[in-house]
Symmetry: C2
Subunit: 561 residues, 2 copies
């Protein structure tokens, strides 16, 4: 590369990153997914806006030809590979297995029904969906089916976190169902690509590609997953934090990505499955996951999503009827399937529909899927633009509609359920088990439950996924058939207890929530209340320093009433 090429490469990346981060932050400020802002940055700097206003500047700045185009191409590939690694790390298959029937039911129905509806519509009326003669109608229908059934786990998790619902039973159902449809969806899509006889490095043809993809997926989810689980303690003990795990995760993702690219499907499948295999181990610390996510989402992801806008002219390929059909089809198939499945799985009615709206978000995943389909010629640019808009609309809709669906007349507060009897004061235990037992003893006495049953159920829930909110707060909880009413216990730990928090901080303020089988949304209210109030570090510090129940109650009353 010449000095001019180097200069322009750095300048283009600098401007792209700045715009993507700035608009991403802006979207975040308005409670919208970051990817919305990042794509908007690309649209503004690409052919859609800048290319129309000042075509010379746009061509000079973001020329994708020549050596610097190649360098950017390589960098964007790296970015998407690392983004998919992160997406895979968020998937915890053991959570899916350990969740109750309702999660499995919603997950299967929410994947199968949109798949079937999408396939049927695309097969019967492909013209409605912008089908181009020339590609196989079967592959096109399979793609539409997969595109409708996939969910966007990262966006969904973020929305639930923002709403304070991530750690609730409702949140766990949503997350498990999303993980299920993610893994199934991506493996399906890899099979579609292998059917296409796209250019592959090996020369075995379609049959070999399918075998390689299925064999690789099976290996990653069994042998490799087991080997990583066994090797993790050694790596975490003998390498620097977080550099050791970062290096290992990135190197593994790159090598797996190279394998799937070689096999004839895209590099991202390898990276995604590498993420699933690593992130699935209960020994993989939530804090490491957070650091890898921060790393990728503040540098690689903005560059990648902004680059989409550089490649496609969103105005020239804007097709309103197509867009409305895609959006309607996506929303109707996913929301109805999940909503009915949730109701049939005996979730409370409001919660079933909240789950459905949450799973409807397509976000970043849909966009990546569409981009690959575009690259391999499965869809045209009109449909790609429609898919991107659908992905963004469903994500925005999800954040708006969940609170609306769950809305209560009056939001209940922690202190409505806490009493001096259930306040355990200073906890003596130094481990998670001891702390939960101490809290359970108090609450069980006050609520007329058996202490060991309560602590057992709480520990079981904790095994599925950590209830640490971060910032020193944890909210272990359980649902017991014997419980007569919703009840809250609390305790303070001076030394701090390791709850495997996303920020790695020990928990000092602990709440124990006990729900009866049906709790009219009290758990959701209290979890949201804790998340909301304890987002203020000053409030947390005052609460953690409280010496008695009266002091603790006084602190609670200083905020959020």
């Amino acid at each position: 590369m010449s000095v001019h090429e180097y200069t322009m490469l750095l300048l283009a990346l600098g401007i792209l990153l700045f715009a993507a981060r700035a608009l991403g932050e802006l979207a975040d400020r308005f409670g919208q997914p970051t990817v919305l802002g990042e794509i908007a940055a690309g649209i503004v700097l690409g052919p859609t806006v800048l290319g129309r206003i000042a075509p010379d500047t746009a061509a000079w700045l973001f020329s994708l030809n020549g050596p610097r185009g190649t360098a950017m191409d390589g960098l964007f590939l790296l970015a998407i590979v690392l983004f998919m690694l992160v997406a895979g790390l968020e998937v915890d298959l053991s959570t899916v297995w350990r969740q109750g029937k309702s999660a499995a039911f919603v997950g299967i129905a929410g994947t199968v029904a949109p798949f079937a509806i999408g396939f049927a519509v695309a097969w019967i009326a492909p013209g409605w969906l912008g089908y181009d003669e020339g590609t196989s109608r079967f592959i096109f229908a399979m793609f539409i089916a997969t595109a409708l059934s996939i969910s966007a786990l990262p966006v969904i998790a973020k929305t639930l976190m923002d709403l304070g619902l991530y750690y609730s039973d409702l949140g766990m159902v949503v997350i498990s169902a999303a993980m299920f449809s993610d893994v199934v969806g991506w493996i399906l899509f890899a099979l579609i690509l292998s059917l296409m006889d796209v250019e592959a490095v090996h020369s075995g043809g379609i049959g070999t590609t399918i075998l390689l993809v299925l064999g690789f997926a099976a290996m990653m989810l069994t042998v490799v997953r087991w080997a990583i689980h066994r090797g993790l303690p050694w790596v975490q003990a003998h390498t620097s934090f977080p550099g050791g795990m970062l290096g290992l995760a990135f190197a593994t993702a790159l090598c797996c990505a190279a394998f799937t690219e070689w096999a004839g499907v895209h590099a991202i499948f390898g990276a995604f499955l590498a993420g699933v295999a690593i992130g699935d181990s209960p020994r993989f610390r939530n804090h490491t996951r957070t650091i890898i996510r921060q790393f990728v989402s503040s540098f690689f992801a903005p560059l990648f999503f902004a680059s989409i806008g550089l490649k496609v002219d969103f105005l020239a390929h804007f097709d309103l009827p197509l867009m409305l059909i895609v959006i309607a089809l996506a929303c109707v198939s996913k929301i109805l399937a999940c909503g009915f499945a949730g109701t049939m799985a005996q979730l409370p009615r409001r919660e079933a529909w909240a789950v459905a709206f949450a799973l409807n978000a397509r976000g970043a995943m849909e966009i990546i899927l569409g981009l690959l389909a575009l690259r391999y010629g499965v869809i045209n640019e009109r449909l790609f633009v429609a898919l991107v808009v659908m992905a963004l609309v469903t994500s925005v809709l999800s954040g708006i509609s969940i609170p609306a669906v769950l809305k209560h007349a009056k939001r209940r507060k922690i202190e409505d359920f806490l009493s001096s009897k259930t306040y355990a004061g200073e906890l003596r235990g130094a481990t998670l088990q001891d702390a939960i037992r101490e809290l359970s003893a108090n609450v069980a006495l006050a609520a007329g439950l058996e202490s060991s049953a309560l602590s057992g159920a709480t520990l079981e829930r904790e095994e599925i996924a950590s209830t640490a909110l971060g910032n020193g707060v944890a909210v272990p909880h359980a649902r017991l058939a014997d419980a007569k009413a919703f009840c809250v216990g609390a305790g303070i730990s001076r030394t701090g207890i390791d709850f495997n928090a996303p920020d790695g901080k020990p928990a000092h303020v602990l709440f124990l929530l006990v729900s009866p089988q049906q709790d009219d949304g009290a758990q959701l209210d209290i979890l949201a209340d804790v998340a909301d109030r304890f987002s203020d570090p000053a409030f947390y510090e005052k609460a953690a320093a409280a010496g008695s129940y009266t002091e603790f109650l006084a602190v609670l009353r200083t905020r959020g009433n």
Copy 2:
């Protein structure tokens, strides 16, 4: 790029990253700089080893030609730009200004003397240093001079941290002097490059380049630095953590890098100065600095340093006599200059020589300097290899020799200087100022000092640079002419106090150290003792939970005696 090119790019990066991180961790385990392992990984995978054993495999894996070579070239450029941003962020010019005369004296002498010696030797006997006829002898001599005078701030800081000396007065002298020689050295090198009439994008010739470089440096260190200082609170308050600051720092570095590349010197100067301008603001949090450093040093830096081994055959260009001359010249000029300057600045004799050995480390900076000189044809590959070896040897030497120089008959412990009178128990204050005042009151009473003088001097020292070790421990300290003997105070804060720690955690265990004008190394011993014992989180938690002086003392006696 074709599918084959994508595959090989991902595979090459995956293998390179894995090898570099693995050998980097290995070097770290033996107390050596990570860069040593990273370069070794490149040497093993490059023409030096793999290229000799299996030339076909080496060519197949790491071919630097074709599109994937271009993509890797772009990625390595990005990596070095981000690495230099981090190097710049570590520089805090205000620390240099606020340090006493001894730091300035050592800094100037340790930069000027090696520069003069290097220039003289290279000018008089260029043949000894592998000078090739054809390049300008003046530019060659200027380069050798700069190469000898520069220090490796990141390596030096890491070595001092490992030895527990970073926060001592000795450490501050070393760090300030290294910052000074870094900034001066890089600006000098930029001027040398601009003298060379290298290919530039603008067409103004040498004069314009020099003006651009000096003007840019002046702007970055004044106006831009001020603007960033003013803008930081807004950015930190209104964007996500750490994504907002990461995005801003990276985007700024990329744009500044593009500018200096355009101006006709290398991109790294822009990135380095961007780092200095950002990192200089006292409002820039140490925690953000740590995150950016982790981000770069676990992904970009390993890839970049390993790539050096891919480009140069270290065996074919190995020239032992040249290497010995370069090492001898580097060590003699730097160590003697700094050692004598330190002695003249009235540092205790042992400390003066410890400073000299610390500043002798050349590490990563020398290698980057050499690589650019090689690229622009100032030096040949023999001299480059000699410089790389010199950089590594001086860095390793520095870690070994400092403890040897400082060695005492008996290492003193915290409890040798702590008494029930200077133990303040639970601190009531919630701010850094209040906590230091409380600690000072106790210590001043016991040591017969004026409390306000002690707290004033301690706060002044804290202004220069935070004394938080991280992990909840801080060691504020002061040197007072009135103090008769070295004295240690301690206190516990239940709520934690924000000391601007590198890991962002509030300090719960605080030690206040008071030194007389000459303290025979007691401060160094105690700082090393605190750093060593409190590196164990379990020990820290026990200490933080101590309820009385007796309990605190009992905890201290459980470890390190």
